[in-house]
């Protein structure tokens, strides 16, 4: 039985066409003829709907859509609540066990790189905000560094410290939310509420310095938009005094929880070699035991002057990635204390013209975002907008692990494993 033939005994759908008419329309529209569904298309009374009505385009796609007896394709998303945005997972399952998986992207693609190539250097920093919307400050940081390198200027020391302060605050709420989402995807509703309470305090704080709650638009080429103000400092003081205790409280909900540990330990293990091979970066890489952190490897200002550790875990499973986030949170708190102690006085913005025209050249700037290595490669041709603006988003590469990681796990664990990789679709789809 082909996918398009009306089934015997079923009321024909008005959309079902007779075969000749369909073939004619397909030829007219230039679409290939429908392919017959593979064996095992009908299983336990379900009709196979996942197979596209075109020949497979690649070897991998053929492999994916070859369904053996007893296997079936299950579509997850793009509107699944646990997919952290609009993304589709195509699971090939044998009863409850996932045997293969494909990640289908593009539902949130806005072409930000192309937009940025048509914007001036100053306005690029507003376009990149909605990319990875849980780390907007980091999104602005890398382009700002790249453009400064292109233009041959450096932000004043105070601006560099303010930058480090806001990106560390951003990292704190991003990691806090990841812990919440991980629990939420496994059915625990409480931690996400604490995560959002914490996030709200931080975004209010950042709003008092930048004027916006989510898409901050705070960085400028050659500095930051505003100096710290009294409201920001008082909010920061209040938040900081209770933050360490609230991390401990949130952690107490999950870390020692019997069910949480049973569902996360020895689950979704990425080995050290696999992690390097697959290009995973950030907390996910460090949870597999590779001590790579851009802040240490290629320190950008002012991280060379600050003291912090690159923490690693050895297990590489979901639980290790969770513990890794908590440890990094504590490191961020340590960094924030140092930044507040060491912050110099002075201007927060270097002198730059309204329309920046760097000399022709190329610049690469990488930063450590909460999800890993976030880098920008910018090319200038001497004009007012970047000739090429390329962003490498870590979430995209983290997601690529899924087809390697998932086979052998249960459907219910898909969400836990995905949440532990912490992808943000705004960044994945650019």
């Amino acid at each position: 039985m082909t996918a398009t033939e009306p089934r015997e005994g079923r009321i024909p759908d008005p959309i079902d066409l007779d075969a000749a008419e369909e073939a004619r329309l397909r030829t007219a529209a230039g679409i290939a003829p429908a392919v017959a569904t593979a064996a095992g298309a009908e299983y336990a009374g379900f009709e196979m709907v996942g197979i596209p009505d075109r020949p497979p385009q690649t070897e991998r796609e053929r492999e994916l859509f070859t369904v053996d007896e007893g296997e079936m394709l299950v579509n997850m998303g793009p509107q699944h609540p646990s997919t952290h945005g609009v993304m589709r997972l195509l699971l090939k399952v044998r009863s409850e066990v996932v045997t293969d998986l494909d990640v289908v992207l593009g539902y949130l693609h806005r072409g930000i790189e192309k937009l940025c190539e048509n914007a001036t250097y100053t306005t690029v920093l507003t376009y990149v905000d909605p990319m990875d919307y849980l780390s907007s400050m980091h999104n602005e940081h890398a382009p700002a560094l790249a453009f400064e390198k292109l233009y041959g200027i450096e932000a004043p020391p105070r601006a560099q410290y303010i930058r480090a302060l806001v990106v560390e605050l951003n990292r704190v709420f991003s990691h806090g939310l990841m812990m919440g989402f991980l629990a939420l995807d496994m059915g625990g509703i409480t931690p996400i509420l604490y995560g959002f309470i914490n996030r709200d305090e931080i975004v209010e704080m950042l709003a008092s310095i930048s004027g916006q709650r989510m898409l901050f638009n705070f960085f400028r080429v050659g500095g930051v938009n505003w100096d710290v103000n009294d409201e920001f400092l008082s909010r920061l003081g209040t938040w900081h005094s209770k933050q360490l205790r609230s991390i401990r409280d949130n952690e107490a909900l999950l870390t020692e929880n019997e069910i949480f540990r049973a569902r996360t330990q020895k689950m979704g293990i990425i080995s050290r070699e696999q992690a390097i091979q697959l290009g995973v970066t950030g907390p996910n890489l460090r949870a597999s035991g590779v001590p790579f952190d851009v802040r240490k490897a290629h320190p950008y200002a002012p991280y060379a002057e600050l003291e912090f550790d690159v923490i690693t875990q050895q297990a590489g499973d979901v639980y290790a990635r969770y513990i890794q986030r908590i440890d990094e949170l504590k490191q961020s708190m340590h960094l924030i204390e140092q930044i507040m102690d060491k912050m110099p006085h002075g201007p927060v913005q270097a002198q730059v013209p309204g329309i920046i025209r760097p000399r022709p050249g190329r610049a690469y700037a990488a930063i450590e975002s909460p999800r890993g290595l976030y880098s920008v490669y910018a090319i200038s041709d001497g004009g007012p907008n970047p000739y090429r603006f390329r962003m490498r988003d870590p979430s995209l590469i983290s997601l690529q692990v899924m087809p390697t990681l998932m086979p052998g796990h249960l459907i219910a664990d898909t969400m836990a494993i995905m949440a532990s990789l912490d992808p943000v679709m705004g960044g994945v789809d650019k």
Binding site: K114, R362, A366, Y377
Partner: protein
């Protein structure tokens, strides 16, 4: 730096550095071998692929696939620029070195139309499978932001080379494209082989609503 000049004697004149990047330019066909040397040579030891991106240097120029590599042993990022001809954009894949390059290569294929030979999964990543353009090429112009470009006002999905111009041939002096100097014979039309051309819309008999498909 010294190691690079030893290992890549041909490419030595293209070495270039800035404050934290070393750059080397190689022909695209040798990219995979060069990257294998860079990764496996114990003295070079660039174990991490930080980025892989494509750059379009304009319709008359070339493509470049730019790899950024990281190593603990060296204080700088290494940038490998592999040049690819624009007429025949083909390059060996590096998924056998870093399987993490798979999504990068799919993105480059999707956005620039560069074909990576040997990649098992070279599908479009973001755009739908039946999409036919390569949006990040420089000759793909945005209608609104490129207001001062020659293509201002042209809907990029309705590119002139895909129009069925034969339908205007019967119009004679009313032909909207005659004064623009555009070719009116069907042989000049670069059409897709699959023929995704719109049917002429049934406006009144003998009349064609020329304002619909005309550049504003």
């Amino acid at each position: 730096m010294r190691l690079l000049t030893e290992r890549f004697a041909d490419a030595a004149p293209t070495l270039w550095t800035d404050e934290d990047t070393v750059e080397i330019t190689i022909p695209g066909a040798g990219a995979a071998d060069a990257l294998r040397t860079l990764r496996d040579d114990p003295e070079l030891d660039f174990w991490m692929l930080a980025d892989a991106a494509a750059v379009d240097y304009g319709p008359t120029e070339r493509f470049e696939v730019v790899y950024h590599l990281y190593s603990d042993r060296h204080p700088a990022w290494l940038r490998v620029r592999a040049t690819v001809s624009r007429a025949d954009p083909r390059l060996p894949t590096i998924t056998q070195l870093w399987s993490g390059a798979g999504f990068h290569e799919r993105e480059m294929f999707d956005m620039m139309g560069i074909v990576f030979e040997g990649n098992r999964d070279l599908r479009r990543l973001y755009m739908s499978p039946d999409y036919r353009s390569f949006p990040q090429r420089k000759d793909f112009l945005l209608p609104d932001d490129a207001a001062d470009s020659p293509a201002a006002g042209v809907n990029p999905l309705e590119r002139p080379e895909t129009w069925d111009l034969t339908r205007f041939a019967a119009l004679g002096p009313l032909n909207p494209l005659a004064d623009a100097g555009a070719p009116t014979d069907a042989s000049a039309v670069v059409a897709d082989p699959a023929g995704e051309q719109p049917e002429p819309s049934p406006v009144g008999a003998g009349q064609t609503d020329a304002s619909r498909s005309r550049p504003r």
